[in-house]
Point group: C2
Chain length 399, copies 2
């Protein structure tokens, strides 16, 4: 690869560890002899088009590591799919700044944008390395065992539901927790990590991978109330009816530039489900929508997620520097060994761009209202240990 | 005080540290020679009426301390104001079990119940010590500098808003965070602890202590958007219009047995406020309602709150054992010294029962849309240090 300057940016929804990936790539670049200037574009490709850069050689390593440990996207983010005209503007800027290494951190929409820029670069015969660094709390990127950002968000969800279950135990009734996840139920499923004893919640888990019906929901909750005298429910914001229409789509009309309906930042779904259960005569029904706290709550982070996010950034720079391939997306693969471990590989951008993956069938129970033990075994090492909680021995039901 | 058995129970909304108070009282009682059996009633006075007790001498000290460090009410809770008929049933049970020490942990409704039981006991000439142990994340108990449960909930709110502000910085627009607090704005005000730099959020803080108008709100947000290019707002679920009617009351009709309207467990207020701002033409407006996570999230606790909750429980038992007064409520007073410290005193139950306190005027700014430095100085030691966060030096605006 020719020597040149480097540009890195962040895109899509923030996560607890997206700055670890930024730090991983930047610190590796700073140690390399192949890179000149290292620019950070503000707010993704929007910042490139507007030439809003900061100089990432100017920041101390101490600051970079402190930023790495900070939630949300330190360079700012954007949700923008570049048009052909945008791409022309972007290339003009890349040429002007002699950028030969471009790294874009984000989810599948970000991978798609990286892919588009890479394809346009090829057409323009502009020599540049374009690498996508994975990030998504949804855990829905193709080719990956799991994605940076998921473990920490999953830890937040598990901690929240563990506490919520204790809260529900104290006051009874039904508690509904609406959890992020557009098409993939991985984050909602993480609620199940909260469970320790047989009668612990969540008692029901609804995922976008299975059609949701209000009738089945009401019947499930009635059965759980009968069995446990209370009920804690984890439900994905992305649940759809049998026709594939998001339940929430009936209540909102906001779409982003990638054509996705707005699911988060509203309590409408939780309120709808709660109203449905009140019709059954259940007196105390409460719904919380975890919302943006899941992706940027300060102070809850999974150690392995944090480490892997950093290493994914590092791996992206090394892949670019090695010159084996000119572009690609870093993916995380789980080693087949019994002890948890991962490796970082490079796949073609188009394999990660646009299409997402969802929960495999083996992670969802037959009745479609909970997860399986296989999911717990999959997710537990990504989240790590939860804070310890205890109950009085006399109150723990023995089987 | 005559020797006898002891009964302890929990009531009202759970908190992160309510079990510390339980442990403080129970462990002190176990070390005392003046107490026979130590019963824990399940679900407050409901459990007393139904004789649902556990034996708190049977649990190991290790278990009690592990439960102390666990969120929510380990004995279960209840929201119930006893009728005269209930009181008769309760006395029958107290006599049957020879209870001479009664401790009830909770907020002002719990203090009121303790007071009612104590008054009825006097009428019935039944000799019993009745003590209320303070707990409320709302921080609204009379006579107290602050209450156990507040510091930890405030820490959760500050961590959430700190992360949320970083998130909003990345993607822009307006973010509304709806925070618990019926009549007192203390918990919502704690959002201000998230702020480090001048341009950090929360940029606006709305409290139940000041009348809320949608017009003023819209004008405030427009001004903040002009100044910061984005806006993070902390708003109390209990905000009222100029007539004192809760804004949310227009959307819900659920009341508890103390006559309070249901404010939590619904996202309606956040959605209403978001819709109002969308009318102004602000493109990206999101609202999260923190809900029950604020009082039972596993893993976020203030060290001083935790310690004080334990000591308040201990103080209640010691006050009862000393026999100086036959009943009372433990209150926390702040020492006037520069270095933060507290003492535990006993006041009459009626002084804490029913009536609540709200934020003093000195804690609220003149325009009624933020807190003052005096509040920050008041609240900071109750919450303790927040997790460290950092930004790139080049992105921090210098004044």
């Amino acid at each position: 690869m020719a020597k040149g300057n480097m540009l890195i940016a962040q895109s899509g929804g923030p996560s607890m560890v997206i700055n670890q990936s930024l730090a991983g790539a930047v610190l590796a670049a700073r140690k390399s002899g192949n890179v000149g200037r290292i620019y950070g574009a503000l707010h993704g490709i929007k910042g490139i088009m507007e030439e809003r850069f900061i100089d990432l050689r100017k920041e101390t390593e101490k600051t970079i590591l402190a930023v790495a440990a900070t939630a949300s996207s330190a360079l700012g983010s954007v949700r923008k799919k570049p048009t052909p005209e945008d791409c022309r503007v972007i290339f003009d800027v890349l040429r002007k700044y002699q950028i030969r290494y471009f790294f874009y951190i984000g989810g599948n929409d970000t991978a798609e944008t990286t892919h588009i820029i890479n394809e346009e670069a090829k057409k323009a015969k502009y020599e540049i390395c374009c690498f996508h660094i994975p990030k998504t709390i949804d855990n829905d990127l193709m080719e990956n065992d799991h994605t940076p950002g998921y473990g920490s968000a999953a830890k937040f969800v598990a901690c929240a539901v563990r506490g919520d279950d204790l809260d529900n135990r104290a006051l009874g009734g039904v508690k509904i927790d609406v959890i992020m996840g557009r098409n993939a139920g991985f984050l909602t499923a993480a609620a199940a990590l909260a469970k320790q004893e047989e009668d612990d919640g969540p008692h029901l888990v609804y995922l976008p991978e299975r059609p949701f019906s209000l009738e089945k929901f009401a019947a499930d909750v009635s059965a759980a109330m009968k069995k446990y005298g209370r009920c804690v429910i984890a439900v994905s914001e992305g649940i759809c009816d049998a026709n594939g229409t998001p339940i929430i789509a009936k209540f909102t009309k906001e779409f982003d530039s990638h054509g996705n309906v707005q699911l988060s930042g509203t309590g409408a779904l939780g309120d709808l489900l709660a109203d449905e259960l009140k019709k059954l005569g259940i007196k105390r029904v409460r719904a919380d929508t975890f919302g943006y706290l899941q992706r940027s709550f300060v102070g809850v982070v999974s150690d392995s997620d944090s480490e892997e996010a950093f290493k994914a950034g590092e791996a992206a720079f090394r892949a670019a520097e090695s010159g084996v391939v000119q572009s690609g997306s870093i993916v995380i693969k789980r080693k087949p060994a019994k002890k948890y471990g991962v490796s970082y590989e490079v796949v073609q951008l188009r394999k990660v761009a646009k299409v997402t993956r969802s929960m495999p069938a083996k992670f969802i129970n037959r009745t479609g209202n909970n997860v399986t033990q296989a999911f717990i075994e999959y997710a537990a090492p990504l989240v790590g240990p939860l804070p310890k909680t205890a109950r009085f021995e006399q109150l723990i039901k023995k089987n």
